[in-house]
Symmetry: C2
Subunit: 465 residues, 2 copies
């Protein structure tokens, strides 16, 4: 539930850059969230003050019986106690010097009418005390360079901001991106969004110099107009990628019991997101695949895609997918074709998609990538490799050749890899990704991502004119 009316433009710095944090509900019991959160906070670059009535020390750290007992003023209070005790805590929080609280506790509007009344009580108590709230019913907040105020993993440090209406999906996206070594700047799970909502976080990420791409998982909000304005303003400044849950009737029904929000009609919502200049992610998996491309690579000047492969079949599938997503697969320049003909195997195909055939190794990838990047008909490049298992070819040479060419070309055209073949392809894929060349498992996903950056670039150039 978004706040009906927000009293003032909130200052969110204490949520994302606190120096001193109190945890109310710190616990020595490994089954409690207050235990996981404390462990995460103790591993962070912040001063931590555990609050609990049960013990003098928790996890080896001095504990305080209440907020008033903490000797220094705190910037942020994280709350993980039973829902019914939360409203009365708000005054104490303000007295302890904080104006910002993250309420992890569940048991509010997501559980029905009684919970909704408790949530209203919480919001009123916070307003009276002058405390801004993230949550309740959320996973928490983290800043990958500073602290982890959640009960889930710390994200890999990086440039992508994530705000999620679903806490668990947010946590899951952290796990997945960590496994893929995609870095996040800041993460916020807004839960029931009783006060601070997605819009506030997007506004904050827009101005955050450490966030270069904004990702959003959203089910629905009360104030669609405000969301539209926030997305429009953000996407003018940096790319915004949105995954919408609750598009179908069945999905929409489920969101009501999940975050208590009404999912908007699909078409209206999707149209709104696009009109606001944001990219849409069709699935969970593609949200960060798209964001990664925005983060790692420059914008393309147009929709013309060059495709290189060492197997005709993958080139064919890539051309199909590019066409499906509205990209052009142009013929390449006569001079490029001639140069490729001289260098590649007589069995190679030197039109776009270029097929360097299975014998093409490091040298062929280097020369072909360099020639394609120099071709005036090519705005962006997809380099595909079905990694061979011959003794005569190493598993990383195609990736090395591709990297050499990109470095030598000093290009401003975006390049992505599609490294086929499970474990066999992993070393080459890792080499590319560590050098910020996004590398995908399927040409379909690569084409989808490239279409999103091309659309964003077009819109962006248009608004500059």
């Amino acid at each position: 539930m978004e706040a009906q009316q927000t009293p003032e433009k909130p200052d969110l710095d204490p949520f994302f850059m606190p120096r001193r944090i109190a945890l109310v509900g710190a616990s020595a019991d490994y089954r409690k969230l207050g235990n996981s959160i404390l462990m995460n906070l103790l591993a962070s670059e912040v001063e931590v003050y555990p609050v609990t009535r049960n013990r003098d020390r928790v996890l080896g750290v001095k504990a305080y019986p209440n907020l008033a007992a903490i000797p220094k003023p705190v910037d942020l209070v994280i709350v993980a106690i039973a829902a019914r005790h939360c409203p009365n805590l708000m005054k104490e929080i303000r007295r302890a010097g904080a104006r910002h609280a993250v309420v992890i506790s569940g048991g509010f509007s997501e559980t029905g009418e009684e919970g909704a009344r408790l949530e209203a009580k919480l919001v009123n108590a916070a307003r009276e005390a002058g405390v801004r709230l993230i949550g309740p019913n959320c996973v928490g907040v983290s800043n990958s360079r500073l602290f982890n105020g959640t009960f889930t993993m710390m994200p890999e440090p990086g440039n992508i901001g994530l705000v999620s209406q679903s806490g668990a999906l947010g946590g899951m996206l952290i796990y997945t991106t960590k496994a893929k070594r995609i870095g996040m700047s800041k993460f916020a799970s807004v839960g029931n969004a009783a006060d601070i909502g997605i819009v506030d976080i997007v506004d904050y990420f827009r101005e955050d110099p450490k966030t270069s791409v904004i990702t959003i998982y959203i089910e629905g909000v009360k104030n669609g107009r405000r969301l539209f304005e926030s997305l429009r303003m953000a996407s003018e400044k940096k790319p915004v990628v949105v995954l919408k849950g609750g598009r179908s009737d069945a999905g929409g029904r489920a969101t009501q019991s999940h975050t208590g929000s009404l999912a908007g009609s699909t078409r209206v919502f999707d149209g709104m997101i696009k009109q606001a200049g944001c990219a849409t992610a069709p699935t969970l998996d593609t949200l960060f695949e798209i964001a990664k491309l925005f983060d790692y690579q420059p914008s393309p000047r147009g929709r013309n895609i060059g495709i290189i492969s060492n197997t005709g079949g993958a080139g064919v599938l890539a051309a199909d997918a590019a066409s499906d997503f509205g990209l052009n697969v142009p013929r390449i320049d006569e001079n490029t074709r001639k140069a490729l003909r001289q260098i590649l195997s007589p069995l190679a195909s030197v039109d776009n998609p270029v097929d360097v055939v299975a014998s093409g190794g490091r040298r062929e990838y280097r020369v072909t990538v360099e020639l394609m990047l120099a071709d005036p008909n090519v705005d962006m490049l997809m380099v595909i490799c079905a990694v061979p298992t011959f003794a005569g070819m190493t598993q990383t040479e195609h990736a090395a050749g591709t990297l050499e060419a990109i470095r030598a070309a000093e290009t401003d055209k975006p390049v992505v890899g599609v490294w086929l073949a499970g474990d066999v392809g992993k070393p080459g894929k890792d080499l590319l990704e560590m050098n910020r060349i996004p590398c995908y498992d399927d040409p379909y996903v690569a084409a989808l991502c490239m279409s999103r950056v091309a659309e964003y670039a077009e819109r962006h150039n248009r608004s500059e004119q």
Copy 2:
């Protein structure tokens, strides 16, 4: 190029179940394909006769200067020598006792007019000698329980047959399925399909008791009518999943230089595949994800899908995806809801999608899966888990609870898992997959696969009536 007219219904057993294989072009040079193929053959359960003029022994094995020098009749000859020498070899092959040859060598119709003339010469020589050909310009043939007659990896043993018009994509699919531990029965790369084509292999897989699902990568064929009949007959007997390359103009252009075949019009082709009762795979990655579900799980009786999750957001996305793919997400039975209400957390949502919430562990998964499988409104089940990282929950307990329930229910309803969260989810995912519960990374892919098996089941039941 498919054969214009096939002289007789071919006996393909010697291609897939040979006892004695000769390799013409066996090589000690690790850069040659004849070296990789020989290594693969030597690791197989067959007698191998390397043929080369250069040496007495290759890789420690006695070599023969020509086919005539081999002391026993061979069942199959694999050819990896320069294209121009291939036509003259056909008579020798027949004289050595074989009627079947796999021509790996490239340099035929895929290279232009001159190559096409050489290919015609090869086909004529084979016909005159009474030799049936797979290839040329192919990766080879393998039977995962017997031998690897390719220069790529041996597939994991299993029940899925693969025939590919692209050799490298076929090899790449082997790598990928191996990494995912999906098993194949037999693999054939048909290359230019100068004699034996996709249709012949599909007909063979249809009658092969070791193949329970057929997968196909196809760009185009000359005789569409024959393909249709072959697909129709095969899909009546077992599921057939088809990935079509060259649907777009750019992709279609690329197939010409790739396998020399003309890609058919998309709509005509897709419509034809569906009319023949086959499932279509939209992307490379989904070809075996769909086949895996066909292979591992029973057919559903209808389109009603039950969804279980420990995070509302994922349930919402799963319901959306199920609706996108034409599945129903029904309300579940009143009795099921009551029973779930008694057992699950008060915070849980007990309508479909069921949300057991984050506190739901082994017990909650076991009880919920069992109740949902017993519900008359549920034809198939998607079990989702955002794997937590609390100390209080182990990473595999949700998977264990799910498995216990499936075993206890002795159900004939198909179940799939969606184990979210990268590396963190892997142990649970592995546990499910090793027990033949297909497990996906994204509810979108899971819903796609379930829609394909539901469509196949509907069609199959209909034709039984």
